[in-house]
Assembly symmetry: C2
Homo-oligomer: 470 residues x 2
């Protein structure tokens, strides 16, 4: 046999060998990822940590004692995770205090008994004075309605924003996105037209009796007025009253205080990469929460997800090639002071975040990851990520395009990829920013599966990188 | 999660909508399926019906007044759904009654206070007499352990089955499958060796204080003995006591009664197909539940899912080509009398169930459908189903191989396809067969998405069929 004829055969052999080698690597990855899930489900600490954050520490708004406790507690945990370095990064945070329990009451049409509505002052909102305010209520569905009504119809009144969630969205975050302008920008806009207070229908699609707080923004130069979220059931009731009887008066009282800015911290830990320490893989959540409830899903879950990545990798004796860093950001909820400071220092140090993963959508059953990057690199990096789908699909994970998360967005300019962990969204707004966002709302296995999903992606990112140009 | 930075998110939304619109224009089916989801989420009745079944009627074990109420209530609903025919199909069901509250107590080692364990008698189990029984407890992990121990070590004792769920399974049903032999077959096997009673660790992976009942089987000729599920926390405690102190005595009392068999009913409604009435698409769940709790997830959810299919199709003015039939089976939990009768009559009438879909895995977020059929046709039919994936994947639905459901399994021999609705399984065994399987455990949107998912599949099955040989 002529040797030339053997060439294709040898080539085939070489090819086959390399396919075999790839297959073997894939098998090794499949084994390792399975071990990650085993660790999370059998030997995990995420739920115990979350229990402490949510139940023993509780709501931890920026500037509060609880926020400081959370800083110290999570630093103490990171100190046990065999990291190369754990540190606190100082940042200056706003410090808003709810003060006495807020009150919102209505005299229902034809009744002599007042009805108390379930209310919670919005973060950064102002007060009514100790006596409270009684005023006529005017209901609006859109911010633009205020422009049409004008000062003559708004001055001296309480504006009630009552646009509900659009239930047709399959993902509840879209419904939130379609309603939250009322809470964030409504009170300031009403104040500009002379309103004395505002009520905002709670940001949830569920009809229930729990008020949902959250941030509202008064720009420089606008004096904050009282702004209370009321429960969706009370919003329906109030709206009915207005329909029955054009003039409806409501009594509100709230006395929150804006304290001087405070010093607080991001809590950071990292394992230095053994081969490419300059390529950073960040995984994080935010440590602050609203003051009511325990901040279990928002975002205690993201914090313990992030720390659990290191716990799992430690238990599996994994030594990363790249630098893996856990960042628990302070003050995501009302200002992003921690995220801003982190990005500033990172840029000053000319760091490169090859990938940044944020978990800030709750501790529910994992569905996948949303991915974002600057236009120039997005397609290429996204394609590389999706090559790992065969390893992640058995765990029912998918990739999609979409935002990474508020805390990591400032890192986008470093030309890495931003990734948001995306668990099932159906129950998120049942608990979001309420007193019932507590450990009882968290299913232990769902939380653990989240940690395993994120760890699996961190492992693949670390092992293979994202073909980064030198 | 803070939504100040919503702009990218809104842009993403616009993008998604426009892509969706283009796709939809090309595809009438995509439009129709989207309308199905809209109906379920905005105009659905599933949650209200489930509220009534779970809270107003409550636990509805076969033969009980509650089961009869459920028959009458669901028939009344079906009468409003513009069906061609609604009827009751008689069947003879067992009638087991729990009797007085069961008790299981232990004297912890070194204590003078007895500790009451959270216990629930298993369906079909026997009694202890009014005085109760005190006996030594022997702990086993496997049924085979009883053979090794033999009568000399078992006679006169209470056998305690304590094998936990294997947490490593990603799907909780696998963990259930790996543990439930203890509950179903353990008590009878212990009785054969002379045990006077049995305790079974509750069938859940969670450590909590809620006993999970369920069926146990005593074959003809074996006198039923007392058999109580105890909560997982109590199982851990009891096991610890046994480890500390080899002889541990437990007091148990239970006095369930086996009543004479009763007459009950499957509730059935159908719309006759306009073109191929002989091809039946069945959608169903089971109407009976255990007596404790409200049977909200198991299987009130499956019943209202099934009825909601017709509610949605009615609201959309959809006229099916094939016969669509809703069957609410009686007595799935302890005997399958309804399913057996249904299949018998169907076979006598030479019916052909082209497809049968059962929802009996709870009212959680949909993940997809498992499919089963006789070997000769499975591959071909499964392939046809998966051709619809592009229409269902936007709703995060997938097909997989696996069982259809206990009630529809007897229809397999008709050479159609059996389909099990498969929602997310993580929380199912938090509630399964307990007093907390109530409406509070159900998220309205998750329930509605389930109904929409099933309706979408019914629509595709009806419109395109499964290439059935004439």
């Amino acid at each position: 046999m002529n040797k030339i004829f053997l060439l294709p055969f040898f080539l085939f052999l070489l090819q086959t060998n390399s396919v075999f080698a790839q297959e073997a690597e894939k098998d090794e990855d499949a084994f390792f990822i399975r071990s990650i899930y085993d660790q999370a489900l059998v030997n995990g600490s995420a739920y115990d940590w979350l229990f402490h954050l949510s139940e023993n520490i509780g709501g931890r708004i920026s500037g509060s004692d609880e926020a400081q406790e959370a800083v110290e507690y999570t630093k103490k945990i990171m100190d046990t995770l065999a990291l190369d370095k754990v540190w606190l990064q100082e940042c200056t945070v706003p410090h808003w205090v709810r003060g006495d329990m807020e009150i919102a009451q209505i005299m229902p049409f034809g009744s002599v008994e007042k009805k108390t509505m379930q209310a919670a002052a919005l973060g950064n909102s102002g007060g009514t004075g100790a006596q409270g305010i009684t005023a006529d209520v005017i209901e609006v569905m859109e911010l633009a309605d205020l422009d049409k009504l004008g000062r003559e119809n708004i001055e001296g009144k309480i504006v009630f924003f009552n646009r509900p969630f659009n239930q047709k969205y399959i993902r509840t975050f879209y419904a939130y996105g379609g309603a939250v302008d009322q809470r964030v920008f409504g009170p300031a806009k009403a104040a500009k037209y002379g309103a004395v207070g505002t009520l905002v229908r709670s940001m949830t699609g569920r009809l229930d009796d729990v008020p949902h707080t959250g941030v509202t923004i008064f720009e420089e130069g606008i004096e904050p007025i009282a702004a209370l979220a009321i429960s969706t059931n009370d919003a329906e009731f109030l709206s009915d009253q207005i329909k029955q009887n054009k003039t409806v008066k409501v009594f509100i009282r709230a006395n929150p205080k804006k304290m001087p800015d405070a010093i607080s911290y991001n809590v950071i830990g990292e394992i230095k990469g053994s081969e490419k320490p300059e390529e950073i893989i960040l995984v994080g959540g935010h440590l602050d929460s609203w003051d009511i409830g325990g901040g279990a899903h928002d975002d205690g879950a993201g914090c313990v997800h992030s720390m659990e990545v290191f716990n799992i990798l430690k238990n599996l004796n994994y030594k990363p090639k790249r630098t893996i860093r856990c960042v628990l950001f302070m003050n995501e909820e009302n200002g992003l002071a921690g995220a801003t400071e982190y990005a500033k220092v990172s840029n000053e140090n000319k760091e490169f975040h090859m990938a940044a993963i944020e978990s800030d959508a709750g501790g529910f059953t994992p569905r996948g990851f949303s991915c974002d990057a600057v236009d120039e690199i997005f397609k290429d990096k996204y394609k590389q990520l999706t090559q790992w789908l065969p390893l992640l699909e058995p765990y029912r994970l998918a990739f999609e395009k979409g935002g990474g998360g508020a805390d990591i967005t400032p890192l986008k300019s470093q030309n890495g990829i931003l990734i948001g962990f995306r668990p099932d969204s159906q129950r998120y707004f049942d608990y979001h920013h309420t007193k019932i966002d507590r450990i009882e709302a968290v299913n232990k296995r769902e939380l653990e599966l989240g940690a395993a999903s994120i760890t699996s992606l961190v492992y693949l990112l670390d092992k293979y990188g994202l073909d980064n140009k030198e």
